[in-house]
C-alpha cells in the first residue's frame, strides 16, 4: 500500500486489526478472536450478533475501557495503549447500563459529566440545557434521577455521551428502553453527528433499527467478524426471497402464474408465494388471484432482513 493507503489509514477514526480479548477469569474463553474493524469519520457502523458474540467486548476495547490481549488498535489516529485520556476526551460512550448518581437531578448528572469531559461550567450548562430540551427531558431536568423511568435514564445517558460533541460515539444498545419517538430522535441526532464528521459505532440486537440507521453493519459470531457491508447490499445479496402470504376465500385452490414469482403453497384458503425482486410482484399477484376467482381477505408481506442474512452467513438463527 502506498502513500494514499497510509493517508486513508491515518484518516480512519477506528482501525482495529486482529483484536483478541478473553472473558474475565483464569482460562476465560476468547470473547473476541481476530476482530478487524475500520470506521471512517461520518460513518455509522452497527455491530450485530447473538448474545456472547463479542459485541460488548469490542465496544469496551474501542472505548479504551479494556486493553486487547492481542492485535493492534488505533483510535482517532492515537494508540490506546499509551495514555488514553486524549482519546477519551474525544469519545462519547453510552454503555448498556445507565449508571448515574440517583440522588442528583438529571441536570446535575449531565452537567457533572460535561465538566468531567472538559467543558467549562458555562459551556456545559448551555449544551446540557439544549440537549435536555432536544431529548424532551427539560420538564424533569430538576427531578432526582431516582424518580426517572428506565427510558428517561437511557436518554440522559445518551445525552451525556453527546454533550462534548465527540469525534467518536460508542453506543451499546442505544435504542433499548426508548419509545418510538425517542428512537426517531436518536436516529436524527446520530445522523446529524455523522454529517458533522463524527464516527458512530453501535452494538444492537434491534435489526430493524440497524437496517434503518447504519451505513454499514458487521456481523459478529464467536468473537469474529463474519460478514460486513451496507444493510441493503447484504440483504439483496444474502437475504433471500420476499414472502407473500394471502388469506383467501375461494371454491378451489387458485392456479396462478406470475413472472418472477414462485408459488410455494396454494389451497382454497391460503396462498404462499416467494419472489426474488422485493415487493414489486404484489400487484400482479393480487390481480392473478382475483382473475382465478378467489377473494383476498388479507395479505402479509415479509421482506428479507438482516436476520436472514445472518442465518445464511452462519447457519444459525440470530437470537436476540
Amino acid at each position: 500500500m502506498g502513500r494514499d493507503g497510509d493517508a486513508a489509514r491515518a484518516e480512519l477514526t477506528v482501525r482495529a486489526r486482529g483484536l483478541a480479548a478473553r472473558f474475565k477469569g483464569r482460562g476465560g474463553r476468547l470473547a473476541l478472536d481476530g476482530f478487524d474493524l475500520d470506521v471512517a469519520p461520518g460513518e455509522i457502523v452497527g455491530l450485530l450478533g447473538p448474545n456472547g458474540a463479542g459485541k460488548t467486548t469490542a465496544l469496551r476495547l474501542l472505548s479504551t475501557g479494556r486493553r486487547p490481549s492481542a492485535g493492534s488498535l488505533s483510535i482517532l489516529g492515537l494508540d490506546p495503549s499509551r495514555p488514553r485520556r486524549a482519546i477519551r476526551r474525544r469519545t462519547g460512550i453510552a454503555g448498556d447500563e445507565p449508571v448515574h448518581v440517583a440522588a442528583l437531578t438529571g441536570w446535575e448528572n449531565a452537567l457533572g459529566f460535561a465538566m468531567a469531559a472538559g467543558l467549562s461550567r458555562a459551556e456545559g450548562e448551555q449544551r446540557v440545557g439544549a440537549l435536555l430540551d432536544r431529548f424532551g427531558l427539560s420538564p424533569d431536568a430538576h427531578r432526582p434521577v431516582s424518580e426517572y423511568s428506565l427510558g428517561m435514564r437511557r436518554k440522559l445517558l445518551l445525552l451525556e455521551a453527546l454533550v462534548h460533541e465527540p469525534a467518536l460515539l460508542i453506543l451499546d444498545e442505544p435504542t433499548a428502553g426508548l419509545d418510538v419517538q425517542a428512537r426517531a430522535l436518536l436516529a436524527d441526532v446520530l445522523k446529524e453527528r455523522a454529517r458533522a464528521g463524527a464516527a458512530v459505532v453501535l452494538a444492537t440486537n434491534d435489526l430493524a433499527e440497524a437496517e434503518r440507521l447504519c451505513d454499514r453493519v458487521v456481523f459478529l459470531h464467536a468473537g469474529r467478524a463474519v460478514l460486513e457491508g451496507p444493510p441493503a447490499v447484504l440483504i439483496a445479496r444474502l437475504g433471500g426471497k420476499t414472502r407473500f402470504e394471502f388469506t383467501l376465500v375461494a371454491a378451489m385452490a387458485p392456479d396462478i402464474r406470475v413472472s418472477g414469482v414462485e408459488i410455494a403453497l396454494a389451497t382454497a384458503g391460503k396462498l404462499v408465494a416467494h419472489a426474488t425482486n422485493g415487493s414489486s410482484p404484489l400487484p400482479a399477484l393480487c390481480e392473478a388471484i382475483q382473475r382465478a376467482g378467489a377473494a383476498i381477505v388479507a395479505v402479509a408481506v415479509r421482506r428479507p432482513g438482516l436476520d436472514d442474512v445472518f442465518l445464511k452467513a452462519t447457519g444459525q438463527e440470530l437470537a436476540s
Binding site: 485520556r85 474525544r90 460512550i93 448518581v101 457533572g112 468531567a116 469531559a117 472538559g118 461550567r121 432526582p144
Partner: protein, 200 residues
C-alpha cells in the same frame, strides 16, 4: 484540572439531607453517651479517636467501593478526566464533609470537658488532619478490595493496626521501637489532641 468530581460530591451532600442528619447525630449521640457517662478521660479519648478514625475510613472507603462496583468511577474515567483528579477531589470533598458532620461532636467535647482555646483549636485541627488521613486510608483499601465486604474488613483491620501503632491502645515503653514508630503515625497526633481536649 476540572473540578467536576468536587462539584458532584458537594451536590450529592446537599441532596441527601437525611444522610447528613444521621451522619451528624450518630457520632454526636456516641460522644454524648461517653462524655455524659463520666467515662475516665483516657478511655473517653480512646473511644473518640477510634470513632473519628473509623468515621473517616469507612466514610470514604465504602462509598468508593460501592461506586466502583456499580460502574460509576469507570464511567467518570471514560470521560478522559485524570484519575488523580477523581481521587484527589473525592478525597478532599469527603474529608471536609466528614469534618462538617463531626463539628457538632467536637464542639460538644470542647464544651463538656471545658477545653481551653488552645486545646480546642488543636482538637479541631488535629481531627481535621486525622480525617484527611483516615479518608485516604479508606480510599486506598477500597481500591485494593474487590467488594464492599472486603472493603469494610480491610478498613477495620488497617485502621485498628494504625491506631495500635499510633499508641492509642497502650503507652509504649520509653526508648522502645514502638515509641519511635508512633511518631510516624498521624493518628498519634490526633489522639494527643483529643487527650489534651478531654484532659487525659
Amino acid at each position: 484540572m476540572t473540578a467536576a468530581v468536587w462539584w458532584l460530591e458537594w451536590r450529592q451532600a446537599i441532596r441527601r439531607p437525611r444522610v447528613n442528619l444521621f451522619s451528624v447525630l450518630v457520632p454526636l449521640f456516641l460522644v454524648a453517651a461517653v462524655a455524659l457517662g463520666r467515662a475516665p478521660a483516657p478511655h473517653a479519648a480512646l473511644v473518640y479517636t477510634m470513632l473519628f478514625t473509623f468515621f473517616g475510613t469507612f466514610g470514604a472507603g465504602i462509598p468508593w467501593a460501592r461506586d466502583v462496583e456499580r460502574g460509576w468511577i469507570h464511567r467518570l474515567l471514560l470521560t478522559g478526566i485524570h484519575p488523580a483528579a477523581v481521587v484527589l477531589q473525592r478525597w478532599a470533598a469527603s474529608a471536609l464533609l466528614d469534618l462538617f458532620q463531626l463539628l457538632p461532636s467536637l464542639l460538644f467535647i470542647i464544651v463538656v470537658y471545658g477545653a481551653d482555646g488552645g486545646a480546642a483549636v488543636r482538637l479541631i485541627v488535629g481531627v481535621a488532619a486525622g480525617l484527611f488521613v483516615a479518608n485516604a486510608l479508606g480510599l486506598l483499601v477500597a481500591s485494593i478490595a474487590r467488594s464492599l465486604a472486603e472493603t469494610a474488613l480491610l478498613a477495620s483491620v488497617s485502621a485498628l493496626l494504625l491506631l495500635h501503632a499510633a499508641g492509642v491502645f497502650r503507652t509504649p515503653l520509653p526508648g522502645s521501637f514502638a515509641e519511635s514508630l508512633q511518631r510516624f503515625v498521624p493518628f498519634h497526633y490526633v489522639h494527643d489532641a483529643i487527650r489534651a481536649a478531654v484532659g487525659a
